[in-house]
Structures are given as C-alpha cells and as structure tokens.
C-alpha cells in the first residue's frame, strides 16, 4: 500500500497548492467525508461575466489523499467554465492522483470533487457511484 504514498502525493500533502479561503468569493461550499469526518471547504472567484473560474482555494484538514486530491484538482480549475465544473468526471479526479485508490480510500480521493460539486450545484450534489468510479480506476490491472 506504500505505493499510494508516492513522493508526488506526499509533496502535495506537505505543500498543498491553492490552500486558504478567498474573500470575497462567488461560489463556496463545505462538506465532510462521512467515513472519517474530515471537513473541507472551497471558495471560487469567477470572471466578470460570472462564467469562468479565475481563482480557487480550498481549506480544511484531512489525510494525505484528500489534501493531495484537492491540491491537484484546484490546480486545474482556473479558466474552466462553471458548466465544465458541473460536468467534471469523478473518474478523472481519481486518475489524476496517479496512484491506485482502493474502495477504502475512495471517499478521501473524491472529497474535493464532492465539495466542488456542492459549490456549483448546491445541496443537489451527490457522492458519485463508487462502483462506477472504481471499475475505471482499476482498469489496466493496477491493484492497490
């Protein structure tokens, strides 16, 4: 399981990108991981047309996987439209971590995704179906 903690992940954990709270902001959401209670919030600023993300920050404390996932995900958001955020594929978020994520840690990997969905969809946001995400994450024969 040590290969879950590659230097890449640990580096994001120790020095997370985009950490903090944007004030003022256009979009905001906070949520928690039901398996451990870790909490995360996200604030986003949009351009003048309120269409594209200009800045994003996340805050909260959590495990290496949830923090690295948030750090990596938020790096990708500036320039994207709000609609693109709504359409974001949770499988991509997991794949971008570049390490095998098993069922026990999937919610850690997807917490940032869930918070982002809340920011653009409000309380309608749901945890993605674990089975769908895992089937894809396992493809290619990577076993955690």
């Amino acid at each position: 399981m040590d290969n879950l903690y590659r230097d890449f992940i640990l580096e994001h954990y120790r020095n997370p990108h985009n950490q903090g709270v944007l004030d003022p902001h256009d979009l905001q959401f906070a949520d928690s991981n039901p398996t451990c209670g870790d909490e995360m919030s996200m604030t986003l600023r949009l351009d003048e047309g309120k269409e594209r993300v200009t800045e994003v920050a996340f805050d909260g404390r959590g495990c290496a996987i949830s923090q690295a996932s948030a750090s990596i995900l938020t790096d990708e958001l500036p320039g994207k439209t709000v609609q693109e955020l709504r359409d974001l594929d949770p499988r991509g978020v997991v794949e971008n971590l570049g390490v095998p994520i098993g069922p026990a840690r999937l919610k850690c990997a997807l917490l940032s995704y869930k918070v982002l969905q809340g920011a653009v969809m409000g309380s309608e946001a749901r945890w993605p179906e674990e089975a769908d995400v895992l089937i894809d994450a396992y493809e290619g024969g990577t076993s955690p």
Binding site: D2, Y5, L10, C36, G37, R61, C63, I65
Partner: protein, 419 residues
C-alpha cells in the same frame, strides 16, 4: 513464554489464534493479520462458526411454533443461548433478556418503548459526551419526540467522566441516565456501580451501554445495579445480527412492545391483541435463530477462558502497548493512563500524519486498526481532533501484535518524514 507464566491469567494469544480460521489466511503482506480492531467487531472462533452451521445444517426450523422434533431442537438452541447469556452477565432471569440485532437496537427499543411512554415535556435525559452515537442519537430523537431535555455529562482532559458535573446535573432530577461502561473511542472504564448508585438516589432509571465491556471483562448485572443493559454479540466472538437487551422485569412488563406482529402475542382478534409475556413480547417475527446459537457458543468459549483471565490478558497487552507507544516521538495517547481505568484499547494520534493514512500504511503490513471518529464525533470535538487511530486487543492478540503495531508506526514515520 516465560513472561506469561509469570503473569497468572494472561492468555496464550498465539495458541488461541489456532481456534480462529481467519488467522490461517495470509494477507497481502504474506503474513496473517495482526487484528487490532476487535472493539469494532471481533473475529470468530471455529466453535461459533460451527454452531451456526450445525444449527442451519441439522437443527433448523422456526422457533416457538413447531410440534415436531426439528422445531423443538431449534427452540432448545435459541432458548439455551438466552439462558447461557443471562447467566454470563449475571441477569437474575433469562426471562428478562431480549434478543435483538445489536446494542444499537437494544437502546432504540428502550428509547421508543420505555422513553415515549415515560417521558414528556420538561423531563431530563442525561447522557455523556463520551458516548458512541448508538447511545446518543436515540436520545436526541427521543427528546425531539417527547419535548424532554437532553444533557451530557462532561469528560475531563484525561478522558474520565466528570463526576462533579454528573452530580450537579443529577440534582435536577433526570428521569434517565444512559452511559457506557467502556468508551469505544477512549477506552475509559467508567465506575458503573458508583454512577448507578448516584443516579438511583436522584430517582433516575439507568441504562448501561455494555457493548464494549461484556466481551472483555466480568460483568455482573446484580453487582452493577443498572436497570437496562445493552450488548452486541458480534463484539464478543459471536455472529453479527444478534445482540441483547436486559431489563428489570417490572420495567419490561410495564413497557409497550417496540415492534409488533407474529410471536409477540397471546391472542389476536380483529378488534385487538393481547401481548405475550416478556421477553417474547419484544421479539416480533422470526428471530436470528442460528445466530443466537452461535452467540451461545461464544459464551461457552469465553467462559472456558474465564472473563477474569480475558480482562487480565487485555490489561497486560494494554500496559505493554501504552508504554511502547509512549516511547515514540509525536504520539499522543488518549484516555486515562491508569490501567485499572482503561480497557484493552488505545486511541492515539501521530503528529503530522492523518489517522487514515496511518491505517493505510498499517494495512500494507497486515496490521488492521480502526482510523476515524469511531462513531463518537463529540469525543473527537472535545479533544479537537478530526479522527484518531485505535488499536484494540482481544483474546487472540499477544505481544507479537504489539511489536507489529510499533513497527508499523515507525514505518509510517519513515514514509511521512518524522514530524
């Protein structure tokens, strides 16, 4: 092992592992599991697994109904398990022991049946900050439904119930005091007899959540003096899906049924129904028959070991593990340091490493621990922690498991860089 010979009562964990098929299975690491999550759910000895299989295989029919041999067999196993468990916990009579799914259901039964009958606006329910959600959420629901007030006894910095705080809250005359004998998140052993005496003097009914105590130490209802006691079978080597509520006969007799239907009646007409006697009044529908038989086998297994010995064994492992963890930089151990007040589990945090990450690294070495809030989020809030890692001990653990735990912590520190 010389050490064991010097300590009467300490069990041979390695020898006992031979009774548990799970330890035959190598984990991904190639080694058998160092199972340190028994406070969540215990592993099962062959005797329990076989009792379940044998009931289904050769002695199965519905209970309380059949005139034929198989049904009489199933009845004997089901009611035999009730009697064995009642004796095991010092219940005055097996008639006061109700089979339920688990301690959670036992507590809900009291909350719905006793609580909604006996509580109203202005009444006070007293629970504690230390409780598992199972002994907390049902009281929140009961308070919301009846207009009663719910208060929590505070816990001290070292994880004890604050008895001065308890005393001042008891002065306001609560109708119910609900607390646990052992905290699943901290390991604290509460002074049950003393708290119960204080609560009774204040006129309260006492419910004890014994899910973390009955599996690990001698529990004698008569000595504790409580009015209700909840336990789960799956934490005491028994199957999941079977647990028990013990209650004083006069309380149970006066309570309405929790669930209604078949088998809990004596006479049903289209106009109305007469309830069966306790405990069957509270056991609507076909119960977990084979699981009850399995729980009966678990009781037999534990009695053969002797609960005094089980407690001595876990206390020995606790003392060794507490000391070993204390020598590691960056470790913070929760709960009382006095082994007389601490059950066989240690909840701890490691500076700079989230408990989830720790548990994942441990898993790679075949060391199974619990990481999270342990269904006791108010406890985490009390100590301003998002989560802890918990290692819990049982009869099949020994010093080798503690060495593997320490090695796993060191490996985690190496991976994450010393804090």
């Amino acid at each position: 092992m010389a050490l064991r010979e010097a300590l009467p009562g300490v069990l041979d964990g390695a020898a006992l592992r031979a009774d548990f098929p799970v330890f035959d299975r190598p984990m991904r690491s190639g080694k058998p599991v160092a199972y340190l999550d028994s406070a969540s759910s215990s592993q099962k000895p062959r005797a329990v697994i076989e009792a379940v299989a044998d009931t289904y295989g050769h002695h199965y029919a519905n209970v309380h109904r059949g005139i034929y041999e198989l049904s009489v067999d199933a009845d004997a196993r089901y009611e035999g398990a009730r009697t064995a468990l009642a004796l095991f916990i010092g219940a005055p009579s097996p008639r006061e022991l109700i089979f339920v799914r688990n301690a959670t259901e036992a507590i809900n039964l009291v909350a719905y049946s006793w609580g909604r009958t006996n509580l109203g606006p202005g009444d006070l329910i007293l629970s504690t900050e230390m409780e598992h959600h199972a002994n907390l959420v049902p009281w929140q629901q009961l308070a919301a439904a009846t207009g009663a007030t719910l208060e929590y006894v505070r816990i001290t910095d070292d994880g004890r119930l604050d008895l001065d705080d308890l005393r001042s809250r008891l002065a306001r005359g609560p109708k119910l005091v609900a607390f646990s004998q052992v905290s699943n998140a901290l390991g604290t052993i509460n002074p049950v007899a003393e708290i119960t005496r204080m609560a009774h003097e204040a006129g309260a009914v006492v419910l004890l959540d014994a899910a973390q105590s009955v599996p690990h130490m001698p529990v004698d209802i008569a000595a504790l003096g409580v009015d209700f006691l909840a336990l789960s079978g799956h934490k005491m080597l028994g199957p999941s899906g079977i647990g028990a509520l013990w209650g004083r006969r006069e309380l149970l007799d006066a309570m309405p049924p929790f669930m209604t239907g078949g088998s809990m009646i004596t006479r049903v007409t289209l106009e109305g129904t007469e309830w069966n006697e306790v405990p069957w009044k509270f056991e609507a529908g076909t119960p977990a028959i084979a699981e009850a038989a399995g729980l009966g086998a678990a009781v037999v297994y534990l009695e053969a070991l002797g609960m005094v010995n089980v407690r001595a064994h876990e206390r020995f492992l606790f003392e060794r593990a507490w000391a070993a963890l204390g020598e590691i930089d960056g470790i913070r151990r929760l709960g009382p340091s006095d082994p007389a007040e601490h059950a066989g589990l240690i909840s701890f945090v490691l500076e700079g490493v989230h408990p989830h990450d720790m548990a994942t690294v441990f898993d790679g070495q075949g060391v199974a621990v619990r990481a999270g809030h342990h269904c006791a989020q108010p406890v985490m809030l009390r100590y301003d922690l998002p989560a802890t890692t918990r290692a819990s001990f049982y009869v099949y653990n020994d010093l080798d498991d503690i060495n593997r735990l320490v090695d796993a912590i060191r490996a985690t520190q190496t991976l994450f860089g010393k804090a």
